[in-house]
Structure formats: structure tokens, C-alpha cells
């Protein structure tokens, strides 16, 4: 059975490999898309206007994550967490909703036969929330060692989705830059994540969200990458905190206006780095790196990728007025352009 599945996987992989950048695939259209990556779906006026102004057709909504189920009973080896609460109203009905499930490689490798539960749960969520979906996307930071398991999982989950939805459900996958060096997964298309390019834990990283220097080494793989790709661009910021020894402490997604802090408390260094003045214990917060990606950098990265791949449909990560409002309308338009 396992062999058969592997063969099927290989066959599908070959089929996918035969696809090129402009497949006859309705899913892979040029319409504008965004990710929605929070646990409670709610849009404010700004976000509603953003969706309308930029003619967003597709919403990639993270439904839940799947994590190892440490300490749970033997029968539930992995489990869904952080399930999104979807709206009771019809506000999603005008969008092509693509459920996204984040799965850790550990789950894929260590636990088998949860695809049925997974597919059933996605189905249940769609039924409950009146979503007629055509596609499901999986987000997994797979590597060489976990690739085989992930690819097999994608084959199995496609079958399971068909079983519950009673029709073919397309499967897409996120593709991280480092994954470009590998063979592509057996999916209908991928979304290239042009963000999280650096190691945010490293004190010397300039900007871990997006630095074109970090993108550069991978673009060479794009030319021959045998999977249709969309391009996901970052519209978010975060702060990374370090102690006095410049060791990573934590990632902070809250927004602070550091420039308006009391200058006797906080000193601005280069590259978005701030230093807390005065003596602090060695392991306490001393340095803050506020990372935000300029529109210029985003567009440079977009150009860089498209130079090697060609024009790509854009998915913006992610729908959040606090983050999006950092860019003006022209810039946002340019992202999708």
C-alpha cells in the first residue's frame, strides 16, 4: 500500500513537473489575493475598503494549525490548534476562500493517518460556515529530510478531501525560498513566500522579514522550477528583542512607536535597532530591532523574482489594517501591479 502511494506520489510529481508556468488552471489566475492569518475573522472599515479597492478576489484564510499532541492520549497523536472563528454573516461569500492549514514537519513525519481527520475537519468548517471551496492550501516548512513525508501527505490529503467534499479539491502549497532548491511538491500550484528571508534570531540580521540580499541566492532556481507559482509579498512588521549579550530573547508582534520614546531611555542605532539606555541585567531586554519592510524593498524583491520567473499573481501577507496602513495606496497598488 505504501509503495502504491509512493508510486502515485511519484506519478503526480511527474505530472506536476510537466506543468509550466502558465497552466490551464483557473485556480492559477492573476486575480489579487491576500492571506488572513488571525484566529478571529473580522474586518474593519479600512480592511473592507482595501479588499474592495484592490479588487481582492481570493482570500487565503488560515483555518487552523496542526501540532504534535504531546501529553494527549494515545489516539490523538496530533491535533488542530488555534482554529479560526469565522463570521456568522455572509461577508466571505463574495470571495474565493482557500482554507490554509499550517502543519509542522514533525507532525508530517511522526504521525500517520490523520489526513482523514484533517479533511473531515476542513469539510466540517466549510459546511458550518457555508463556504464552497475549490482548493485547500498547506503551509509546511519541509526540508530535505521531511520532503518525502510531506509529499506523500499531500497525495493522501487530496484523496481524503475528495472523499468528504464529494468532488476534486485542488491542493496548493506554500513554497519557501530554500525549498526552491528541491523538487516541487505534487500540488496544483505553489505560493512562493518572499518573506521570512533572514534569521530573525541573529543579532546581525538587518531585516529578517525581507532583505533582497537574502532572496538573491535562490532566484536562480526559479527559471526551471516546474510548478506554477504565485508570489506572496510581506506587509507586516515585528520587533525582535535581544539581551545585553545580543542573544535573542523574543519576537514581538505588537506595534510600538519607538521613535517617539523618551531619548533618555531609548537610543536609536542603525538599521532599525534601538538600545535601551542604562544598566540592565545581562539576560534582560537591551536591544530592539524594529523590522518593517519598505515598499521600495518589497518592489525590488518582486522585480527580482519576476525577472527570473516572469509575471506572477500576487498574494499579500496579510490582511491587517495596522500593517497595511503603513503603505500608501499607490504602493499597495504597485504590489499587485
Amino acid at each position: 500500500m505504501r509503495k502504491t502511494i509512493l508510486m502515485c506520489a511519484a506519478a503526480l510529481l511527474c505530472l506536476c513537473g510537466c506543468r509550466h508556468k502558465n497552466p490551464n488552471n483557473k485556480l492559477y489566475s492573476g486575480e489579487n489575493s491576500v492571506y488572513y492569518w488571525q484566529t478571529w475573522y473580522s474586518t474593519n472599515d479600512y480592511e473592507k475598503r482595501f479588499l474592495a479597492d484592490h479588487d481582492i478576489q481570493t482570500m487565503y484564510i488560515r483555518f487552523f494549525d496542526v501540532e504534535p499532541n504531546h501529553g494527549w492520549n494515545d489516539h490523538d497523536k496530533c491535533r488542530p490548534v488555534a482554529t479560526i472563528t469565522l463570521p456568522d454573516d455572509e461577508s466571505l461569500s463574495r470571495f474565493n476562500v482557500v482554507p490554509v492549514v499550517f502543519i509542522t514537519p514533525e507532525v508530517i513525519v511522526e504521525y500517520e493517518s490523520f489526513t482523514d481527520h484533517l479533511a473531515h475537519r476542513i469539510h466540517a468548517m466549510c459546511v458550518k460556515n457555508h463556504l464552497d471551496i475549490k482548493e485547500v492550501q498547506f503551509d509546511c516548512d519541509w526540508t530535505t529530510s521531511t520532503r518525502e513525508a510531506y509529499f506523500q501527505f499531500l497525495v493522501e490529503v487530496r484523496e481524503a478531501l475528495k472523499k468528504y467534499f464529494g468532488k476534486d479539491i485542488a491542493v496548493s502549497s506554500t513554497i519557501r525560498l530554500h525549498q526552491l532548491a528541491q523538487a516541487p511538491p505534487a500540488v496544483d500550484y505553489g505560493v512562493l513566500m518572499c518573506y521570512n528571508t533572514g534569521d530573525f534570531k541573529d543579532f546581525n540580521t538587518r531585516n529578517a522579514i525581507l532583505d533582497t540580499k537574502d532572496v538573491q541566492p535562490y532566484v536562480k532556481y526559479l527559471k526551471h522550477y516546474k510548478l506554477p507559482l504565485k508570489l506572496a509579498l510581506p506587509a507586516y512588521s515585528w520587533t525582535v528583542e535581544f539581551d545585553a549579550k545580543k542573544s535573542f530573547l523574543r519576537l514581538n508582534r505588537f506595534q510600538n512607536d519607538y521613535d517617539n520614546y523618551d531619548s533618555t531611555m531609548l537610543k536609536k542605532l542603525d538599521n532599525g535597532m534601538y538600545e535601551i539606555l542604562g544598566e540592565v541585567p545581562d539576560n534582560a531586554l537591551k536591544y530592539i530591532r524594529h523590522e518593517v519592510v519598505s515598499a521600495k524593498t518589497i518592489l525590488e524583491a518582486k522585480d527580482l523574482v519576476e525577472q527570473h520567473y516572469g509575471k506572477m499573481p500576487i498574494v499579500l501577507y496579510h490582511l491587517d489594517s495596522v500593517q497595511l496602513s503603513k503603505y500608501n495606496d499607490d504602493e499597495l497598488k504597485a504590489f499587485f501591479d
Partner: protein
């Protein structure tokens, strides 16, 4: 998991399901409110268990009768709760009987139950629970996957099968059992509407029985979950349960009133309303908009709620349909009190007392009146007289009911099933009255002796059996070990206070109400684990108060106690006093010792009965060799050979008869020598020896001479946190010690003597220290810290000297320990 294990686990699960799932999941216990507890004894777990047990017995009896008692009751029980889900039940005599006697109805019942329960357990509970996502619309979401309800893939089929059986079953007993089963299944898949419909469709015909109560329990639980709280409350009340989880807001109370104006459940519901209102007033303190500068800010929650309640209460009292009007008016008084309207509260409680009311409400009114009056600040002379009747009644009631052994320290933990919540409430009211009312009243007026008198009353009344045993052990000099009430040997931990005085939640409450100061200054500790039995008399708030107040206050209290009191109130409070003169004399002596008034201390020590020290749990510490006050602990812990270069050896003298009196005599002798000896060398050496004794007996290792707990670490620290007081008192000790060392240093003695003086001297020591970097690893963290150490020359000197004192050479760790911890 192999199939056999799966089966066994499944059976175990079924066993637990049939036992536990026959009732709704247990609600939390009623919260601990200080206030307005009308005295319902409704611990939810106990009620639930009783309900389940009653039904279990009834169920077994029913089936036992069904097989004409030809099968043992035990076998029937086994069949009902263990065997029915097995693949093959033919070995069970109960099922064998049903098959053999062609009891087709019963066989059908059990077959269906087996089928549906197997499916239910397999799918609803067992395998896929964490993946469950309800497809039903309108259902509430859950936020934590840990709390997911079961999966309901084919539950609809299960329900359909059971409901079909209800309709087609001709035997009413079996039909009712089908009803319970299907209600249970609906409930556990969150199909509350289904559960409600089933009861409303078929429940009417179920006769009064344990089974009916089970059904009603599910029905009420389902009503609660679809926000039909009022109906749920009425149903619960009809089966004798008052669910503290229900939100008895005014609208709910009104609906209940319209349906059942004289509902017995009102006592509980009104209590819950008031307590919830009280909780909200507390929670406000933690809300973002709380104004910390407003001392009364926490007191006023949403007064619209109290206004709405008052309107309803007025209407009910006016209507005359409710036979407990005192309840409603006393609740109004409670709300007014929470809102800070003390005058209104007092007027309303007086009015409530004139109205008709149940015994519980009347008792509650007495307690409320006591609480209200205890916090009054507008009366002085009549204060105690005003409290006296209600206080006497409360004390009498508590003495009659007894104090449970666990109550002080188990709040929040498991509460014994047989808990008498009314009795517990009486205790809480006494505590509230004394701690939050009476003592602050007398503290504000500078009448510490009255504070002590009432604290003494409180502690005497609150003595439980364990406390009494502790005192008895102490009286017999058996403090070190004894048997507890369960017959186990209990070891008494010599020096420590009983840790248990108040719980953490009490502290939260007290601090919120600005009464924390009293306890903070009086050194009351938060309850913690109790691995040791402690000496009761040295572990009370009363003792803590005396231990930390001035000597004048203690003496004034003793005079007051000896007077027997002038008024009836004073006589009453003094009747509840602990009256061992040695206990007080010893304490006053110790307090004098802390002030270096050794002569005065000796006066009181001589008044003490000779064998009293043996009764103290501190006795062992005073006699322990390494706690000799004249041992230079930072050099060696054993200094019998030390003479300080004096004509007599204080350490050896102390060892002959280690006691507070010996210590006082030696200190007086040393002081005299230091002040009057003709030889400068002798004066210096005596001063140094005196400084050693002073240091060691206060914040050094011989602290047991002057304190009842670990030196300054206890007596000046509050709740484990350093305060300004700690530092100032420690600084005061250093200042006094330094003064004697300054005298010693006037004499230009040998290098060793001078260095020893400097090592002990808080200021001089600094010149002998240097900073050393230390790396400490704690878990995944590595800290680098800079610590002070003596310079190598001093270190070497002291270590070398150590070998002279018949003590193994001190390695660095031990040396450090002994230097820095003295």
C-alpha cells in the same frame, strides 16, 4: 494499541461513563464569599454523586426485579455497568436470564443500548475528539481545543435509533430508560435543543424517581446552555440543586418570580446575585479603567444592576406573594453596603429584621448586622455594646458547630463532602468581623490592647481539634512529636510558627480592602504546605500581633486581661482568652532581650515557670551547640575552646545551661566588663564578645534567643518580600553591634583580634572585601554576577584559625556559607 488493550480501556471508559455520565458534569463549588451566604448546603459534587448513586441503586433494583431476583444483585450491577458492552455477554447470569426467558423487550433494550453506546463511545468520546468541529449552526464556539466536545459523526443515527425505541416501546419503564439514554447522548454531543425537545415531548410521563431526576438534570443543564437560565434554575431547584454557574440576573429572578413567586430557590438565587455583584465590585479593581487613586473605586460596580434589583425587591415585598420578604430587603441592604452606602445598609437591615423571613435569612440578617456594625466609624463608647449580642450568638453558634480541621488551609483545594457550608459561613463571618471590622476600629483609636483581646478571642474560638492537640502536646512538653487525628506520627518542627493563618485569597481580599497593613505589620503568613505540625500558640495572629507590637502594648493588654473587664462586652471577650502567665512573661522577656534590656528580661524570665521553656518548640534551638550565641559562627560553628581572651569563657558558660536567662546574665556581665574593667584590653575583648552575642542572638545563628522564627528573616520580613522595615531593623542591629565593635577597636590588639572585629563590623568589613565575578547556571540561564568576598589575606587568616578550633579545615564553600550567613 492492540485490540485487547483497546477493548479493556473501552470497558473502563464505559464503566466510568455509566457511573459519571449519568449526571451532568459537575459544576464548580460555590465560591468563597465573605458576605451574604444564606447557608445552602449545596456542594455540587456531593449533590451530583448523591443523584448518581440514587439512580444507580434504583436502576439495579429495577433490573434485579426484572429477573425476579434469581440473579444476585452484584451480578446485575456488573451486567449493567461493566459487561453490557462486551461482545459476548452469555457468561453473565443476568443477560443469560433475559435470553433464556425470552424477555424480548429487555433484550431489545440492551441490544440497542449496546449498539448505540458502542457507536457513541467509539465516535463521540474515543478516537477523534480533538478533531471535532461541529457542523451545527448557531452553536457556540469553543476556544481551547483541550475542551472540545465529542465528535458526532453518526450520533444522529444513534439518536434516531433511541428515539424510535422510545416511541415504539410499550413498557413505560424501558421507554423512560430509552429517554434518559437519548437525552444523555444529545447532551454530550451538545445537542441541547434535542435534549430539551426530548424531555418536553416525552418527559411528562416519567414518574417521580431517580431516573426522572437524572432526566431533569440533563434537561436543566441543556436549558442553561441555551441561555434559558431562569427555567434551568427552576428545574434545578425542583430536584434540590442550586447551580452556582447560573447567572441569576434581575431578569432571570423576575421570570422565576412570575412563574413561581414563592420559589424556595430564591434564597440561593438572591445570594448568588448579591455575591456576583460583590465579585464584580472586586473585579473592577483589575479592570483597565480602574482608578487606583480612588480608594472606593472597587466598591461600586454597575449600580444599575442594584437599582434594578431593588425595584424588583420592592415589587415583590409589595405584592406579598413571597413569604420571605426579609430576604429581599436584606439583599437590598447587602447591595447598599457593597455600594458604600453604609447608612442605607443599616436602615435596610433593621427593616429586614422586622419582616417575615426564613430561619436562614434571619440568621443571615444577624450576621450582616454584625458585619455592618463592626465597620462603623461613627460610634465609640457603644461600639462593643452594639456588637455584643450578635457576636455572642455567632461565637456560641461556632462553638456548637465546631471548627473543621481543614478549613483554614484548604480553601480552594478539595472540600470534604460532608462540609457544612452554613457552619463554614459562620466562621468566615467571625473572621471578617474581627479582622476587617473590630481590629481596624481599635487600631484607628490606638487601642492595641483591645485589638489583642479580640484577636485572642478569635484564635480561641477558632481552635479546631488539631490546634487543641497541639496545645495539649505543648502543655505536656511533647512538642516534638505526637499522633495526629488519623493516628499517624507527626513531627513538630521545633522553631517555626504554624504557617497557616490566612490563605492567599484572604490576603488578596484584605489588601483590596486596605486592611493589608494590619496583617503586614503583624507578620501573618500565607498558608502553605503543612508538612509539619506547629506549635499552635506560637502560630496565631494573636501571637504575631503581640510579638511585633510594643512591650507597653502587651503589658497594657495583660493588665486589661487581669482586670476581667468592666462592661459586659469586655467581660465576654476576656472570657475567651488564653491565660498562661508564663506564655506572656516569656514573650515580654524576649522582647526586652531584643532591646538589650537584659536586666528587665531577667525579671520576667524569673516570673516564668521553670519548665515552661521545655514546652516551647524553640527549646531545641536554644540548646543546640552550633547556635551558641558566643560562637564566632563566621569562623567556625563550634567554638568551645574560644575564650575571647577573657577571664571566663562565655561560650562554655552558656553551654553549661543554655537558656535565655543564662544568655542575659552573660551579656550583663560582659557589658559591665566592657564598660568598667580597669584593663583596656579586657574592656575591648569584652566589648567584642558582647558584640558577638548581640549579633548572634538577633540576626545571627542564635536568633532563637530573641525570636520565635528564623531571626530577622521571619520577624521582620513580610510575605517573603523585603521591605523598608526589614532593612531598617537589620541596619539598627548593625548599628548597635558596630557601636560595641568601635569600643573594641579602640584597643590596638593583635592582628587577629582586630581583623575579627573588622570582619563583624558592617563598615570596617568593607575595607576587607573585594569583588569577585561568579558565574551561576540556573536551568538554561547563566548569570554572571559580582559578589563581595574577603580579601585573600583575611580569608587565609580565618581559615587557618579555624583549624585551631577543633573543626575540619573550612573549604571555600563552607567558609563562604559560614561567613555570609553567620
Amino acid at each position: 494499541m492492540n485490540s485487547r488493550l483497546f477493548l479493556i480501556s473501552g470497558i473502563l471508559l464505559v464503566g466510568s461513563l455509566t457511573a459519571a455520565a449519568c449526571g451532568e458534569p459537575s459544576p464548580i463549588e460555590p465560591q468563597w464569599h465573605w458576605f451574604f451566604y444564606t447557608g445552602h448546603n449545596c456542594p455540587a459534587m456531593e449533590w451530583q454523586q448523591k443523584l448518581n448513586l440514587a439512580f444507580r441503586e434504583e436502576n439495579i433494583t429495577f433490573w434485579h426485579n426484572r429477573v425476579k431476583k434469581t440473579v444476585s444483585r452484584k451480578e446485575v450491577e456488573k451486567a449493567l455497568y461493566d459487561v453490557y458492552l462486551l461482545n459476548d455477554q452469555t457468561n453473565n447470569k443476568f443477560f443469560r436470564y433475559l435470553y433464556d426467558h425470552h424477555d424480548t423487550e429487555a433484550v431489545r433494550y440492551w441490544t440497542l443500548l449496546k449498539t448505540t453506546d458502542t457507536a457513541y463511545i467509539h465516535q463521540a468520546v474515543w478516537e477523534q475528539s480533538v478533531w471535532y468541529y461541529s457542523e451545527k449552526t448557531g452553536e457556540r464556539y469553543w476556544f481551547d481545543e483541550d475542551d472540545l466536545p465529542p465528535y458526532d459523526l453518526s450520533i444522529s443515527q444513534v439518536k434516531a435509533m433511541n428515539e424510535s425505541a422510545i416511541r415504539s416501546c410499550t413498557n413505560p419503564d424501558l421507554r423512560n430508560r430509552f429517554l434518559l439514554q437519548v437525552m444523555r447522548k444529545c447532551f454530550y454531543v451538545n445537542d441541547y435543543q434535542g435534549c430539551i425537545i426530548l424531555w418536553e415531548r416525552y418527559g411528562e410521563r416519567v414518574p417521580e424517581s431517580g431516573l426522572r431526576k437524572q432526566c431533569l438534570n440533563y434537561y436543566a443543564g441543556a436549558l442553561r446552555r441555551v441561555d434559558r437560565d431562569a427555567e434551568a434554575a427552576i428545574v434545578y431547584a425542583s430536584i434540590g440543586f442550586y447551580d452556582p454557574r447560573l447567572h441569576y440576573d434581575v431578569e432571570v429572578l423576575r421570570k422565576i418570580y412570575e412563574k413561581e413567586p414563592d420559589s424556595k430557590a430564591f434564597e440561593f438565587m438572591v445570594q448568588e446575585f448579591v455575591n456576583n455583584y460583590f465579585d464584580q465590585s472586586r473585579r473592577k479593581r483589575y479592570s483597565p479603567d480602574f482608578d487606583f487613586s480612588d480608594p472606593a473605586g472597587y466598591r461600586i460596580p454597575d449600580t444599575r444592576k442594584s437599582e434594578a434589583f431593588n425595584a424588583l425587591a420592592d415589587e415583590i415585598v409589595r405584592d406579598g406573594k413571597n413569604r420571605n420578604p426579609a430576604l429581599w430587603v436584606s439583599a437590598k441592604a447587602a447591595l447598599a453596603y457593597i455600594n458604600g452606602e453604609t447608612d442605607s445598609a443599616l436602615r435596610l437591615i433593621t427593616e429586614a429584621n422586622r419582616l417575615r423571613g426564613s430561619d436562614a435569612v434571619k440568621d443571615n440578617i444577624r450576621m450582616m448586622r454584625l458585619v455592618f456594625n463592626s465597620t462603623r466609624n461613627d460610634i465609640d463608647a457603644k461600639y462593643e455594646t452594639l456588637l455584643l449580642p450578635d457576636l455572642q450568638w455567632l461565637v456560641r453558634t461556632i462553638e456548637k458547630e465546631g471548627v473543621p480541621c481543614w478549613w483554614e488551609y484548604d480553601i480552594g483545594a478539595a472540600i470534604p463532602e460532608d462540609t457544612n457550608f452554613t457552619a463554614l459561613h459562620h466562621i468566615k463571618i467571625l473572621r471578617r468581623t474581627i479582622l476587617l471590622g473590630v481590629i481596624p476600629h481599635f487600631e484607628r483609636r490606638g487601642m492595641a490592647f483591645k485589638s489583642m483581646a479580640y484577636l485572642n478571642l478569635y484564635e480561641e474560638v477558632m481552635m479546631n481539634n488539631d490546634d487543641k492537640k497541639e496545645r495539649e502536646f505543648a502543655r505536656r512538653g511533647l512538642l516534638r512529636e505526637g499522633l495526629n487525628q488519623d493516628g499517624y506520627t507527626v513531627y513538630f518542627h521545633p522553631p517555626f510558627y504554624r504557617e497557616v493563618v490566612l490563605t492567599e485569597s484572604d490576603f488578596d481580599y484584605l489588601h483590596e480592602h486596605d486592611y493589608g497593613t494590619l496583617l503586614a505589620t503583624r507578620n501573618v503568613q500565607v498558608a502553605d504546605s503543612i508538612s509539619w505540625r506547629k506549635s499552635f500558640d506560637y502560630g496565631t495572629m494573636f501571637f504575631s500581633y503581640m510579638d511585633t507590637t510594643s512591650i507597653a502594648n502587651v503589658r497594657q493588654y495583660l493588665r486589661f486581661m487581669r482586670s476581667g473587664g468592666r462592661t459586659a462586652a469586655e467581660k465576654f471577650v476576656l472570657r475567651h482568652s488564653y491565660r498562661d502567665p508564663s506564655f506572656y512573661n516569656e514573650l515580654i522577656a524576649t522582647k526586652y532581650m531584643r532591646l538589650e534590656h537584659y536586666d528587665s528580661a531577667l525579671v520576667y524570665l524569673r516570673k516564668m515557670s521553670p519548665d515552661f521553656p521545655k514546652k516551647q518548640n524553640i527549646a531545641d534551638y536554644i540548646g543546640t551547640e552550633h547556635r551558641n550565641p558566643f560562637a564566632e559562627g563566621w569562623i567556625t560553628r563550634k567554638l568551645n575552646k574560644a575564650t575571647f581572651g577573657l577571664p571566663f569563657n562565655p561560650a562554655a558558660e552558656y553551654d553549661k545551661k543554655p537558656s535565655k536567662a543564662t544568655f542575659c546574665q552573660l551579656m550583663l556581665r560582659l557589658r559591665k566588663m566592657a564598660e568598667t574593667d580597669s584593663s583596656a584590653e579586657m574592656r575591648a575583648k569584652a566589648a567584642y564578645a558582647y558584640a558577638v552575642g548581640l549579633f548572634r542572638s538577633t540576626i545571627g545563628n542564635a536568633w532563637a534567643l530573641c525570636y520565635y522564627e528564623n531571626g530577622w528573616n521571619y520577624s521582620y520580613h513580610n510575605f517573603g518580600e523585603e521591605s523598608d522595615d526589614d532593612q531598617s531593623i537589620e541596619a539598627d542591629v548593625h548599628r548597635r553591634v558596630d557601636a560595641w565593635l568601635d569600643k573594641a577597636l579602640q584597643y590596638n590588639g593583635d592582628y587577629v583580634f582586630t581583623t575579627k572585629c573588622k570582619v563583624l563590623h558592617s563598615r570596617e568589613r568593607k575595607a576587607l572585601e573585594h569583588e569577585v565575578k561568579k558565574t551561576v547556571t540556573w536551568g538554561s540561564y547563566t548569570y554572571t554576577s559580582t559578589e563581595k568576598e574577603f580579601i585573600p589575606e583575611v580569608r587565609e587568616l580565618l581559615c587557618d584559625r579555624a583549624s585551631d578550633y577543633d573543626y575540619s579545615p573550612l573549604c571555600s564553600e563552607e567558609w563562604r556559607e559560614s561567613v555570609w550567613h553567620y
